[in-house]
Amino acid sequence: MPNAAILCVDDEVSILKVLKEQLKRCFGRQYIYEVAQSAAEAWVVIDELEQEEIKILVIVSDWLMPHIRGDEFLAQVHQRFPKIIKVMLTGQADEAAIAYAYQQANLYACIHKPWEEQELQQVIRTALG
């Protein structure tokens, strides 16, 4: 049973679906893959995983989402879990938001939609060392 997880956050279910499939196909059964449609839902998942003593290694988050935008969410995550690797995957984000995320969330990378599968895999693979 893997005890490490990758969490994807995006307000579009279809993005989450394809993203998860890509990650699963690349990293197989090494990790648990979780998805959430908003920052609030992501926190629920984070808490659940914490209870199950599953460590979140990477969070891939969209930027333009309901209520809390990706940069803000990642910054909040960073305050509680500085070790989690944060990646932003976005169709559109303004420069200021990206800069904010790099600074406040120690953003690891920002990938733009439509993304290259290899780029995503590469980023996560190197991030996980």
Partner: protein
């Protein structure tokens, strides 16, 4: 103008130029009033002179008559050869009258200081001397001598005097006439001069007015240009917002399509490799269970929200625990992704097989193209919607002519563009009536809806209800956009239509949105009304239908 030129004896162009450019109105006024005063006094003097020469002429005529009467009296006495008392009296009377007239003439002569009368006086005194002499001779009774010597001389002197008087009279008549003519000429000149002055002044005024008008026209043109520029700027800003929205709306489905396509490819590749092993790995019963799984997966509802699928997965994990699998979580995940949620009894042959993981994975790979295709279709729908909205937005009237605009469609276009921001817990109520198309500029109206909707979304900070309604009444349509945001404080309500008035942080709002919208509505003979209190703000736009 040529009259003036003659009078001023300056070349017309120069006279005009100097008057037009250098002389201010007051100078022209002062100059012309001076000229008018001078003219007036000259005319007055001339009239005075004419009056006087007329007076002199009258006196001369009287003198002439008086003289001939006197002469006939004197002749009477001379021819009678005696002077009776009656005659003496009459003579004295006549003489007195004559002297009086002559006195007057003399006074005029002294005043005018002209010597024209001198000769007359000389002739008169010569005549008087002759007559006096003759009368003396008569009184002495020397009639004969009188008749012989004096009668002839008297006649001569009298004739001389008479002709002199007549000539003088003629001269005064002539002088009177010429003075009058001069005065008339003066009056005519003054009239012409004043007409010219009025003309010049009028010309100057109209010139000034024309200048002012030209200046105003230039200023107005500048303003209009500035306004057009503002509209253009605002359009660019709206375009910026639009591009932001569009790139999100387009890149998301593109990302989904791209990933789905490659996922399908990989899944099928894997499946094709594994498929030949099916008969080898699974018993007929297990195969049956396998195909049941595939059937269920293709009928399932793959795109459910995450919360729902997590719940389903949890239930599946509980069910799977009964099968004592070491990877129940992974299997549950695969099954959830395939849309399997119900009772897993039909799967028990498969799950109890040693190849259960291989089989579920193969089933997943075989069916995931179904899910991926759904994702692709959905994404294509999404992007064609936004492309349609864009097309509507970009369909500008290059001709600059009004065209028939469907306002409901325009509102929908804007809502589509703002889709990404609107789904953030903003509830939209569309309350469209069947309204007639109106004549207008479609892209500019879209700009108005964009501004109002953008403001409303901003006011609600991503949470609230946006109500858009359209109405048709009394040859007008009403579009109202209401939000449940913070509202506009009463003390700034009168300012929000001002250019550059904004309460948004620098860089976020230009404060031009409502200003430009107002201008666009004016262009359409429309107007806007606001109603605002905390929790409910309504912008109503009225356009003639």
């Amino acid at each position: 103008m040529s009259y003036l030129a003659k009078f001023l004896s300056i070349r017309p162009s120069r006279a005009l130029a100097s008057l037009k450019e250098k002389q201010p109105v007051w100078a022209v006024l002062v100059a012309t009033s001076t000229v008018a005063i001078i003219c007036d006094s000259a005319i007055y003097q001339l009239n005075q002179m004419a009056e006087r020469s007329n007076e002199t002429r009258l006196l001369l005529t009287q003198a002439k008559e008086q003289m001939s009467r006197l002469k006939s009296l004197e002749w009477e006495s001379i021819s009678k050869g005696e002077i009776d008392d009656n005659l003496v009296e009459e003579l004295a009377e006549n003489q007195e009258a004559t002297e009086y007239i002559l006195g007057k003439l003399e006074a005029i002569d002294r005043r005018d200081n002209n010597d024209s009368l001198d000769r007359f006086f000389v002739a008169y005194s010569a005549y008087r001397d002759q007559v006096k002499e003759a009368l003396e001779l008569v009184s002495q009774g020397k009639i004969k001598e009188v008749l012989e010597i004096n009668a002839h001389a008297i006649d001569e002197v009298y004739d001389d005097l008479y002709s002199k008087i007549t000539r003088l009279e003629d001269r005064y008549v002539y002088r009177n006439q010429s003075t009058r003519a001069l005065a008339d000429f003066g009056t005519a000149t003054a009239l012409i001069l004043s007409a010219i002055t009025i003309g010049i002044l009028f010309h100057q005024f109209s010139q000034k007015l024309r200048h002012k008008k030209d200046e105003l026209e230039v200023a107005f043109g500048d303003l209009q240009q500035a306004q057009d520029q503002l509209i253009q700027q605002e359009k660019m800003a709206a375009l910026g917002q639009l591009i932001t929205g569009v790139s999100h709306e387009i890149n998301n489905p593109l990302g989904a399509i791209k990933a789905s396509a490659s996922n399908t490819e990989k899944a099928l590749q894997e499946a094709l490799l594994e498929l030949p092993l099916l008969h080898q790995y699974l018993s007929p019963e297990e195969r049956e269970s396998f195909f049941a799984l595939i059937t269920q997966a293709t009928n399932g509802q793959p795109l459910v929200d995450c919360q729902g699928s997590r719940d389903r997965k949890r239930k599946l994990v509980i069910q799977l625990q009964g099968y004592d699998l070491d990877d129940d979580r992974y299997i549950a995940d695969l099954l959830t992704d395939m849309g399997i949620s119900e009772n897993l009894d039909f799967l028990s042959p498969l799950l109890t097989s040693i190849h259960h993981e291989w089989a579920v994975q193969l089933a997943y790979n075989l069916t995931c193209s179904f899910v991926n295709n759904q994702i692709i279709l959905h994404a294509v729908d999404q992007s064609s919607k936004i492309v349609f909205a864009l097309k509507n937005y970009a369909r500008s009237d290059a001709s600059g002519n009004r065209q028939l605009v469907n306002v409901n469609n325009g509102l929908e276009t804007v809502l589509k563009i703002y889709h990404s921001q609107l789904k953030n817990n903003i509830h939209i109520i569309r309350d469209y009536q069947d309204i007639p198309d109106i004549l207008g500029y479609p892209d500019e109206l879209i700009q108005v809806w964009t501004n109002l909707i953008h403001n409303a979304i901003h006011a609600m900070a991503g949470n609230g209800t946006l109500t858009i309604s359209t109405r048709h009444q009394d040859h007008a349509i009403e579009v109202s956009i209401a939000d449940t945001g913070a509202g506009i404080p009463a003390d700034i309500q009168h300012k929000i239509f001002d250019a550059f008035f904004t309460t948004k942080p620098a860089g976020e709002g230009s404060g031009l949105g409502l200003y430009i919208s107002q201008k666009i509505l004016e262009k359409h003979n429309g107007r806007m009304a606001i109603e605002s209190q905390p929790g409910r703000t309504r912008f109503s736009v009225f356009l003639p239908a």
